[in-house]
């Protein structure tokens, strides 16, 4: 990485006086917080991690904002619960030691399709410490859920291997596990089918793909336009099943007090958990409290209630004891959702000067027999490029497999891998620089809807990224750079993620001691939601950040939507901003002291947050990667990874960077190491633990640089922010795959790029 000069338009930049950490027309004296050069990193908690390559910039140290007002948003405020987490004081869902608490252990189905004909619990119940075994025959009856994956132990059907067919409850986790193993389940087996292929006889085009997107979009005459295009790329890509595997497995502790239910659960959205439980157990929502104060990651797999919360509540009902159900790691792949495998066919037709005429993206994926979930992987092709003839379709095959669900950037992550790899192929076919190809196809309006973009700075991300990466020195010829036995290459890919926002409520309270409390049932899944919401509040109240306390993660707080779709901060922050703005006005009008209980305001953004917008709203970004491919072993390692994003206003420079880098790391795993094998004879996944499902280890992760373009978009929300939790994974795998092509001259179209695939191809084609 060559040294680069910090430039004013790039946030998180150098120490110059116009460092735009605090954008907008703030008085000069308010720009007191920010990064300053430091001779060494130091050991202070306020020390920011060095974010650039050695030599790129000096280490910078963050100074906590001085007690001034209006300077909180954008600052790199430290995570509020950091000390609690690193000291172990933070309580996760399984760590609420309620009196009399016992443990549930699920029994997964040992067949891929059929029904349970008998559950012999006698051996399990005879073991010491075993309280009960819930079976499909005797478990509490639930109302029919909207999400059929939650109809647990309600009937004898086995829709896939790993489906829960019994739950053992015992005094300790060990005795519960032992009891679960002693349960004897007999089945009537039926032939199963777990093989995904595009020509499967059961394949169909769904009305909708995930996210409410139409399954098919067709503009112009794409097939004819492609056939007539002077330059054509017709290619196919495959993304395997992938698993979310958050550090904290899905866990719930449930406790009944008469007809009142309290659950401590690991969820991205407690408000939804409560409404789902109310439906299943036929209770008024007021009788249910859902607490999710700390959540050890989710990546989409905790976006809606999962079996743990239903099983724990049933078992607690049955035994009259508080029950914890913590899914063992090995159960997660079949139980909590996965990213469905996607087969992509991409056809790109272009003029000789690189203008797209036709873009056809056809995706085939699977779903389970339990419910239809369609990974919307062809949807990003509706947003990216100015192609007058556009086809984007989904085909889904229901199989006897575990139910797929959301995983970080569902749709965009696999879809942009395929599209951005195909764009690289087109650049090669045209003899055009891949950055330039993308710039030439920048659309004026959203291709899929015809709407104007609220803001779109993809070109700026590409140009800034290219400048920082040293792209102009790149020799475009593939397979020509060697460092001993290593082949070196660089690649680029674009990124996009839609702006989503949902109505939320929040309250803000001014207390007589001069402090403020913001309450909203937001979920802090490790993103720093507590922290950024305090920043939103502090600026709306015109008070220093340290005067604001945030309460999140409980359903006795004002209802709020989930942390998902990169929408949490926008949704919650909007309500917090409104409540605090209102409170500031009330305080300004106040004469005399505050009442002892303080003054509280409440906001509900319904009608505004969900109002129709005439704009297409998306975040964009550009990823650049350098790889080294070992010709001896086929091992590929990433040497450099750079992401530059345009995602509205960045509300917290530190936690935002953490989100971007985390997403890019996950994209690196998607490219090189993470692969799950659907074992067709058995109908489940072969890689069931973290020793075999290879998330990147530290040694795989190079110097990752993430930065952003300042983007002022008035059509979003009062903070001007777009979501940032998912875009980091989008396009990263394509940038790495394109770099591997540049290194080797071989195009790989099957992820992950493990040594067996690389070495085999090097020997065949090298």
């Amino acid at each position: 990485m060559p040294p680069t000069d910090p430039t004013p338009q790039v946030a998180g930049g150098g120490p110059s006086g116009d460092d735009p950490l605090v954008p907008g027309a703030l008085p000069a004296e308010d720009v007191a917080a920010g990064w300053t050069e430091a001779a060494g990193a130091g050991g202070s908690a306020r020390t920011a991690p060095p974010s650039e390559a050695p030599g790129a910039r000096a280490v910078r140290t963050y100074e906590e904002p001085a007690p001034r007002t209006g300077a909180a948003l954008g600052a790199a405020a430290g995570r509020r619960e950091g000390r609690e987490k690193v000291s172990g004081a933070a309580r996760y869902a399984g760590e609420h030691h309620l009196s009399g608490r016992v443990y549930g252990w699920p029994v997964p189905a040992g067949i891929a399709r059929g029904r349970v004909t008998g559950v012999d619990t006698s051996a399990a119940l005879a073991l010491p410490g075993v309280l009960a075994v819930l079976t499909p025959g005797d478990a509490p009856r639930l109302a029919e859920p909207d999400d059929a994956t939650l109809a647990l132990l309600q009937n004898p059907r086995v829709p896939h291997r790993g489906w829960c067919v019994a739950l053992a409850v015992a005094e300790t986790p060990e005795s519960a596990r032992d009891a679960a193993r002693a349960v004897r389940v007999t089945y009537a087996r039926e032939p199963h089918d777990a093989g995904l292929r595009p020509d499967h006889p059961d394949a169909y085009e769904p009305e909708e793909a995930n996210g409410g997107q139409p399954g098919r979009l067709e503009l112009g005459d794409p097939a004819a336009a492609f056939a007539a295009a002077p330059v054509r790329v017709d290619t196919a890509y495959r993304v395997p099943p992938l698993h979310n595997h958050p550090m904290e497995p899905h866990t719930t502790t449930a406790d009944w007090d008469g007809d009142r239910l309290t659950v401590y659960t690991s969820s991205q959205g407690g408000t939804t958990v409560r409404s789902v439980l109310a439906g299943l157990f036929r209770l008024p929502e007021e009788q249910i409290t859902v607490i999710a104060e700390h959540v050890g990651g989710g990546f989409g797999s905790k976006g809606t209630p999962r079996p743990d919360v239903v099983l724990a509540a049933m078992a607690a009902r049955r035994t009259g004891r508080p029950v914890t159900v913590a899914f063992p790691r090995r159960h997660l792949p079949t139980t909590v959702g996965h990213r469905a495998p996607t087969l992509h066919r991409l056809r790109l037709g272009a003029t000789p000067d690189g203008r797209l005429i036709a873009l056809l993206h056809e995706v085939t994926t699977h779903t389970s027999r339990v419910k239809e979930f369609v990974e919307q992987a062809a949807v990003p092709s509706r947003v990216m490029y100015a192609a007058p003839h556009l086809l984007s379709t989904h085909t889904v095959v229901p199989l006897d497999v575990p139910t797929p669900s959301w995983m970080r950037a569902p749709g965009e992550a696999p879809g942009m891998y395929a599209l951005e790899s195909a764009m690289d192929e087109l650049a090669g076919a045209l003899g055009l620089d891949p950055v330039e190809l993308r710039i030439r196809n920048e659309p004026e309006r959203d291709p899929g809807t015809g709407s104007p973009f609220s803001s779109r700075h993809l070109v700026e991300c590409l140009r800034e990224g290219a400048r920082r990466f040293g792209w102009d020195r790149r020799d475009p010829r593939p397979g020509t750079r060697a460092d001993g036995p290593l082949l070196l290459g660089t690649g680029v890919a674009a990124a996009t993620y839609p702006v989503m926002v949902s109505p939320s409520t929040a309250t803000a309270t001014a207390l007589p001691d001069g402090t403020f409390v913001v309450r909203v049932n937001a979920s802090d899944i490790g993103t720093g939601a507590r922290t950024v919401l305090a920043q939103v509040a502090a600026d709306a109240l015109h008070v220093p950040l340290d005067r604001v306390r945030t309460e999140v993660g409980r359903t006795d707080l004002p209802p709020a939507p989930l942390a998902g779709g990169s929408s949490g901060t926008a949704s919650w922050g909007w309500a917090v901003h409104e409540a605090c703005t209102d409170l500031a006005a009330r305080l300004a009008a106040l004469t005399g002291p505050l009442p002892t209980e303080g003054i509280e305001t409440r906001a509900d953004t319904t009608g505004r947050a969900d109002a129709d917008t005439p704009y297409a709203r998306h975040a964009f970004g550009a990823h650049f990667a350098e790889v080294a491919v070992d010709t001896v072993t086929g091992e590929t390692r990433v040497r450099r990874l750079l992401g530059v994003y345009a995602a509205g206003r960045i509300l917290n420079a530190r936690t935002a960077r953490s989100q971007f880098v985390g997403g890019m790391t996950m994209g690196l795993g998607m490219a090189l190491t993470e692969g799950s094998t659907l074992d067709r004879p058995f109908g489940d996944f072969t890689e069931a633990d973290l020793a075999s499902y290879h998330v990147p280890a530290h040694a795989d992760v190079p110097d990752i640089e993430a930065d952003w373009i300042e983007e002022d978009d008035p059509h979003l929300n009062p903070m001007g922010s777009k979501g940032i939790g998912e875009i980091g994974i989008v396009g990263t795998a394509a940038a790495i795959g394109n770099a591997v092509h540049h290194a080797t001259g071989i195009r790989f179209r099957d992820l992950p790029l493990t040594p067996d695939r690389i070495l085999g191809a090097l020997l065949r084609e090298g």
């Binding site: 193993r181 190491t673 004879p681 040694a699 040594p755 020997l763």
Partner: protein, 331 residues
């Protein structure tokens, strides 16, 4: 996990007695594999005989220049031991290529040798596995087996042994020292692990009740240039797709001592006897290396989905031999 008894003997003799006195006993040292298997239900010992505090945790140089490594020496300590680093770099490198830092801090020399395969079907009680339940079948044969054996497998079992350390020990002509009711014996590491044949449930030649007390590294291999190289899916904490341990001494441009063993290819460290025979006395040149390697690898019997292991092993061996061989002196 089923309830189990626990005893902690103070001497090797007490350990063997405790083991003999408790049917269904297992020796426990670092526990990095055994405890996992107990959680999975693959192992359910009646009694754990904890040998973790036996006086077997030292590395001793003996008068003849050989090295005796106690069975409970931790993998990280062995890798860092100055004598090992100086005289047997292949062993140090192999240890550091294995597992993760945390696991190496707990795992022991004896336990490393006795770890079980990571074949996914072996670890899943709901699926057939002849190693876990003799006669139940081998699901890997028709199933997912990219990581499985290309040498010495049978229609009963195609699993590989996961150890890196054992591959280096095989190339070094190390011996395993065993203590049992019939006394002490030692056998070459290369012969310690069995091929699966008709009885994949038996991983090694260890006799019931025998305890590994140490590993003997011969003086003859000390100081000879050696290296370990491993290919894997990620840069750390992944088992070998294939690996190679090489010990190579060249005199006057001719190989006069060689040890060559592959990991990740078989149910045991695969000592490349055919290649070694061809290399001894041959010119230390890449063409000669390649010919010898091919003599070994042409005997491989890859499965449907793991043919890549053969050229991978070829490349690893050729690259490592070539790097260890002294550059030809200018004439």
């Amino acid at each position: 996990m089923k309830a189990f008894g626990y005893v902690r003997p103070r001497t090797v003799e007490e350990a063997a007695e405790a083991y003999a006195a408790h049917p269904g006993a297992r020796y426990l040292a670092g526990g990095t594999n055994l405890v996992d298997l107990m959680k999975l239900g693959v192992e359910s010992p009646a009694v754990l005989v904890d040998i973790g505090r036996l006086p077997l945790d030292t590395v001793e140089e003996r008068p003849d220049g050989s090295l005796r490594v106690g069975a409970t020496v931790r993998n990280s300590d062995l890798a860092a031991h100055p004598l090992v680093r100086d005289r047997y770099p292949v062993l140090s490198q192999a240890l550091l290529a294995g597992a993760s830092g945390q696991l190496r801090n707990a795992a022991t020399t004896g336990g490393n040798l006795l770890q079980r395969t990571r074949c996914p079907y072996f670890q899943d009680l709901d699926k057939p596995c002849n190693k876990r339940v003799p006669g139940s079948g081998c699901a890997a044969l028709a199933g997912v087996h990219r990581d499985h054996a290309v040498f010495g497998h049978s229609d009963r079992c195609i699993a590989t042994h996961p150890s890196d350390m054992a591959v280096a020990l095989a190339a070094l002509d190390a011996r395993v020292e065993l203590y049992g009711t019939e006394g002490t014996r030692s056998i070459p590491v290369a012969d310690f692990h069995r091929l699966p044949g008709e009885h994949p449930e038996r991983d090694t030649e260890i006799r019931p009740g025998e305890l590994i007390t140490g590993v003997l590294l011969p003086a003859a291999r000390a100081g000879v240039p050696s290296a370990y190289r491993k290919a894997r899916d990620r840069a750390s904490y992944a088992f070998a797709l294939a690996s190679v341990a090489v010990v190579l001494r060249v005199a006057d441009g001719v190989v006069d001592q060689v040890g060559l063993a592959f990991g990740g290819l078989a149910h045991r460290p695969w000592r490349a006897h055919h290649a070694e025979t061809a290399l001894l006395g041959a010119a230390a040149t890449p063409p000669a290396f390649e010919g010898a390697i091919d003599l070994e690898l042409e005997r491989a019997e890859p499965l449907r989905d793991n043919a890549f292991k053969v050229p991978l092993a070829h490349n690893l061996a050729l690259d490592t031999l070539t790097r260890l061989a002294p550059a030809p002196s200018p004439v």
